[in-house]
Amino acid sequence: MDSFNALINAGLRAIAAAFSWGPPALSLAVFAVLAGSGMIWAFRKTSDQAKLQAVKRKLYAYLLELRVYSDEPSITWRTQVSLLRANLRYLGLALRPAVWIAAPLALLMIHLESFYSRQPLALDSDTVVTMRLRSPVDGAAPDLTLPPGVELTAPPVRIVSRSEISWRIRPRQAVSGELQFRLGGQTVSMPIEARRDAHFIPGRRVNSALAVLWHPDSPRVAASAVDWIDVRYPDSAISVFGLEINWIVWFLIVAMLAGLALKKPMKVVL
């Protein structure tokens, strides 16, 4: 799984790097267009286009029928029922491609989170690093070795009920390094980014094979005692025409527009 994630990450990084000269909204738009095209293609391949076309025509017809027979309330109500039925049928037909598309798209978006959902740690601002253990916290806290330019501003705090230990740290200068934890003879590292131009901010580092689906940015934690390690980064926003918006909104808009633009050339019924 780690190799698979690394492969995807490498690809995404390459694309992001190619557009690193522009604002993040640009590279995200590129990802969105690629995703939009791919999804439109997948939609066409996995849906019953003829049936979709037919049910869409019925939907239009029923909408027009509401106008054509606007003077006949009984017809209007009957049409509402037909409209609802056609709608359900339409949704039913859209479900299969939606299911096919959901998995790869979710995977892509989870990976993109590392690029766009977080921003690097601000200099001279505190943040919290948390480690969850797989067994109750009963001994000494793991040793934490900080990279140069990062200092510990408070001793570790144990939250026994959740088997978690937290450290408060403060970067004093730009850093792109690793936090080193020593635990029961094993060393575990966690990347840390505290520089202005960073595009890739890895999220939580996990141990579980299932959880790595959701946190694919870094390889799994090798130490069996550790469940996950997390650095709390500030949330990021994408600046589009001076407007700060959640990256997912921008992605959604661009992907939708790309889909809409490609609908006709790719002869897809949506």
Partner: protein, 696 residues
Amino acid sequence: MGKRATLAVICLFLCLLSLSHRGHNPIEVAYIGPGAGFAFLGSFLTMLGGLFLGLMSFLSWPIRMVYRAIAGGQGYRHAKIRKLIFLGLDGLDARLVERFIKEGKLPNLARLWKNGDYRPLRTTFPALSPVAWSTFATGVNPARHNMFDFLNRNLHSYLPELASARVREPRRILRIGKYRIPLSRPTVELRRKSRTFWQILGDHQIASTVLRVPITFPPQKFHGRMLSAMCTPDLLGTQGTFALFSTRAGGDAMEGGNHFALTPIPGGYSGKIPGPKDAAVEKGPDLELPFTLRGKTLEINGERHELREGEYTPWIPLVFRASLGIKVRGIARFLLRQRDGSPKLYVTPINIDPEHPALPISHPSYYAAYLAKLLGAYSTLGMAEDTWALNEGAIDESAFLQQAYLTYQEREAMFFSALERTRRGVVACVFDTTDRVQHMFFRHMDRGGPFSGVIEDLYRRADELVGKTMQYVDEDSVLFVLSDHGFASFERGVNLNTWLLENGYLVLKNRADGQAGYLKDIDWSRTKAYTFGLAGVYINQQGREAEGIVKRGEAAALKRELATRLSGLRDPERNSTAIRRAWPSDSLYTGPYLDAAPDLVIGYENGYRASWDAAVGKVSSAVFENNTKAWSGDHCIDPHLVPGVLFSNRKIGAEDPGLEDMAPTALDLFGIPSPPYMEGKSVFEAHVPQVSEVPA
């Protein structure tokens, strides 16, 4: 895609969803791609739109009721029934119907007769569909509705014009260089006058659905729904021009169509379908739509269509791209035949696309699109069945029948869709396949051969249609099954221009042989009478026609003279009577449009009709000639010989009902008095119409 694979993906999807609460943005998980996103968003908007429209309809109901009360319509207060159905079967012949009923071949019509009533239905002078259905709709004689034939003459130029409608260019056009940007829509004028019963019912808030009743192009506004019919043009502005593509050299002159050569290309052939003129350019060229044919694969407009030999395609959208990004949309069916290994591709006339009509073809304007979305694309051309293609040998009998019954099925779907949605009011629908098939197969009837039973089969199908329609009739409904005229064989054509020439009433220009169409060879300065179209003879009257020479005072005497000489005209070759009687029009009609009528209406004997040349204003070498075309049945003869039929689920009081009685009947059934200008009376009243005005 296997079921297991689908199941696996569904499982993965559900698995991902179950994990979604673990710290991820819900919007991220909810978003499932642009395609599905559109589907869900579209679905939501559709429901929202539907609910909004439904709510608006519900909320505006009281307002509409108040408006109706103020507008003065009486609604259904005095109605004797809730629903009135007119099932028009164009050209259903009284004698054939009676014969087939006697032979037990039309059980539903027999049942309708037994439980209700039946009468032969008097048709109009002349017995032509545009005239007859106009009288049906308005309840007046032709001199009050101004329809006398398919064509009428221009009194200034003598050029024949379509009698029912006139399409004019947009009134305001912005000219920039060679480009013309229309600032208004083309004007389409309905030349049929008087008011229809559905308009009068609409004034009283009684809604009608009028489907393909002839002479309803352009559609008029009224309280109801209408789809135009006869005389609705094709995309070229004609009454139907087919295209035939083959490997033979093209350019043949064909009546009603054109022949083009297919150009060989690697792996197949290419061709160009001619379209309308590029109206966005001054003196714009004809638009063309290229296509390729490789084996049985037709590629057109970037779409591929697999053809099956001998089988029509569904309606294929054709998009002609004019200047300034303007698109002109039509639809056509294709039929592929192979002859000696070479393809022959027939393309139907390009019908106006009902989803994107280039001209108004329905009321309300979106009704045509509604029907297309609900039931699929359908023919919109006035005369949808391509009789000329069969006449000219572009298609054979089987292909024609196939096309005719495809049209019939479309009409049937529309009709029953309207019936299902009509709780009260009027549904009037005319099926013209019955007319077209009789025109083209009359020569085969009862003569053996593969098409001998076509007309009987046609009547049986019509009977089945009646049977299905009867399921929508209850005790509060009235059903009329009617036709506008009957049918007779057409074996001999009569060219009255030639007769007029031989008898000194018509003179040709110097060195002209009379073969130029549209009266172009006639010397008007010396011609007293002429003919064109199917209805009759015109006097070249001074002060009326631009170059008229017959003084008004002499016209009546000339009419009488011609009527006397033409009545009983004999065909020497067959030694039989060709014309039973010629009537001066003022003995048949009264009304403000009498001047537009033929001055003499000709009542041909069974087996005769105006010849093909006479119909287009030519003068041929002989007065009589054999009709050699596939078009072998006709009805434009003495109307007494070709009555229509009238079946009703109620007893008919009238002894001799006529088409003019139908509009007053419709009004009477809804308790609305007929306007004084309407000439007919309700058929449920016992009355004898004024037949004295219609001498036999």
